[in-house]
Amino acid sequence: MFEELMSIFMGDSVNIPLIQPIVDTLMGIPLINLIVAFILWRPIFHILVIPGLLGITIILLWIVYWERKLTARVQWRVGPKEVARRAGGVIQTLADGIRYFFQEVIAHRDAHKLYFIQFPLISFLPVLLPLLFIPAGSVWGIRTIYALPIALALISLIPVFILGMGWASNNKFAYIGTVREAFIYFAYEIPFIISVIAMTVIYETADFFEIVAKQSIIPGVFINPIAFIVFLITLLIATSRLPFDIPEADQEIAFGPYVEYSGILFGLVMTLPYEKLYLLSLISVILFFGGWNGPAIPILGDLAPALWLFIKAFIFMSIVSLTRSIYGRYRIDQTLKMGWSKIMALSIIGLILSAGVAIW
């Protein structure tokens, strides 16, 4: 049976010349070679290393620190600096995470205990599932031509889990925040889908591989900049970034649906918007910035396109986190009005523009 598994794994393996000598030596040892072949099997490599769990962990460790540092720089001060002083405080997020482990997790008397504790853990499901469908060049999970609609549909499941968390908290402020979260979903979903449709109309396909192949000369952002602007604004609304962080408004409703969480559950819950931002920035890089196009590095072999995609998403996320220092927060009715009038008009203009480009 081991031989059957080994043949399946070796048949679709990722080829990285850099670590090939280590892999060759490890292939000699009987049980380790199964594990190494399993990790290097293409779908598992995609979901575990890049752009999967290891990628998400590196992004999370970096983006929280970077956002604090960048915001501090704009605000005439210096951000976190003390934890590893020589390195400029880079491991601040790790220190925060370790601190959350030591705090007490309190589930109060009036909460629905089952949902209250389980939902932050189950909410990783709609985050990791779309990741299976987004390929990274030469590393892919499930390769179909319907990958883009499936990924978008799974991403839109995330607000349901946030609603569950808010409802299970059984708290007045959590209730107000949950209702706002449900409302804001209606503000951004339709312009978001229209702008994605505008890009697929230009590329004439919904398959990720062909989209990236068509952007080898000009990236998508120059073909249809209006669709990019609409995508960017709806990305800000979807991931609750300022100026639209209405469901988790700190001053008005004391953190909204997450108000009753403490300890490690709070740490998990706080990373949820960042993970959604990661997914949406991967999609935006593929649609608008050329995906994994980049000069090939022979020593990294199959890893090079995946690394290009990762680096581009990294830079995109770092620049988007500047909005925290520019804007305050809109009201919920202003956002809904904006979403259905101005942003919808912009997205339809983008659709017409891309229809014109496609005809030409």
Partner: protein
């Protein structure tokens, strides 16, 4: 004269320009920031010479006049006797508000200001300093000195320099005063002044049915306790005339 302010009108061009200006300002600050914070406690701000910090007390000049204890708004100063029986002040820094009314009241500048203010005490009892003589010993953590000054914009100068926290202040131009008798006919012989004088400059003699009290001008330090304690307003403080 009146100046009227009106909010601006809102239309699409102003909104877009407003957004672009805000984003431009933030990007400019992200690239070249005007940081004004300092890395305390390794760097420390330079304070002016009249900064209100903890009080430094020198016992040689104190005349035990009790003025500081009377004027303190927070009742933070209490007087404690030493082995000779004279009273000297002790400050409770848990109550002190660093207003320096006591320093302004001290006639001989025995209490002096200093720049020490951000020290930590190990427990609450040690905040009540009963023996204040001399300069307190503090552990310094700062290595650099930051000075704020104003030119076109804020100008920050950082130097590798540890500042001396003890300041030299001149004595106030107050002449020496001694107690003198203003209205001797009011004296009722209660001898409160005789008991209150810290340097025993008043002597009392009993002669038949009268008690005569005498002040000694050489011993008198001008503290004024006898003036304040006399119930019938007999004494007054007067400056010494030369010759």
């Amino acid at each position: 004269m009146v100046k009227i302010v009106k909010p601006p009108k809102v239309d699409i061009t102003r909104t877009v320009i407003g957004h672009l200006k805000a984003i431009g300002e933030a990007t400019k600050q992200a690239i070249a920031p005007d940081t004004i914070t300092i890395h305390y406690p390794r760097e420390r701000r330079k304070y002016p010479d009249n900064f209100r910090g903890l009080m430094i007390f020198s016992k040689d000049e104190c005349i035990s006049c009790f003025r500081c204890a009377h004027i303190c708004p927070a009742n933070a100063i209490q007087m404690f006797p030493d082995e000779n029986g004279r009273y000297y002040p002790g400050v409770d820094y848990a109550k002190c508000i660093l207003c320096h009314f006591c320093i302004d009241s001290c006639p001989t500048a025995a209490l002096k200001p200093s720049k020490i203010h951000d020290v930590a005490f190990k427990d609450v009892e040690s905040m009540f300093i009963k023996e204040m003589d001399g300069i307190p010993e503090i552990k310094r953590e700062d290595k650099k000195l930051v000075e704020y000054d104003f030119e076109e914009d804020l100008k920050i100068t950082k130097r590798k320099y540890v500042e001396n926290l003890i300041v030299e202040v001149p004595k106030p131009p107050r002449p020496k005063m001694i107690a003198a008798v203003k209205s001797p006919e009011n004296c009722i012989g209660c001898r409160l002044c005789f008991f209150a004088c810290p340097v025993d400059a008043i002597s009392s003699k009993a002669e038949e049915l009268e008690i005569i009290l005498d002040t000694d001008p050489k011993k008198c330090t001008g503290c004024g306790i006898c003036v304040r304690i006399c119930p019938t307003d007999v004494l007054i403080l007067q400056p010494v005339r030369e010759g």
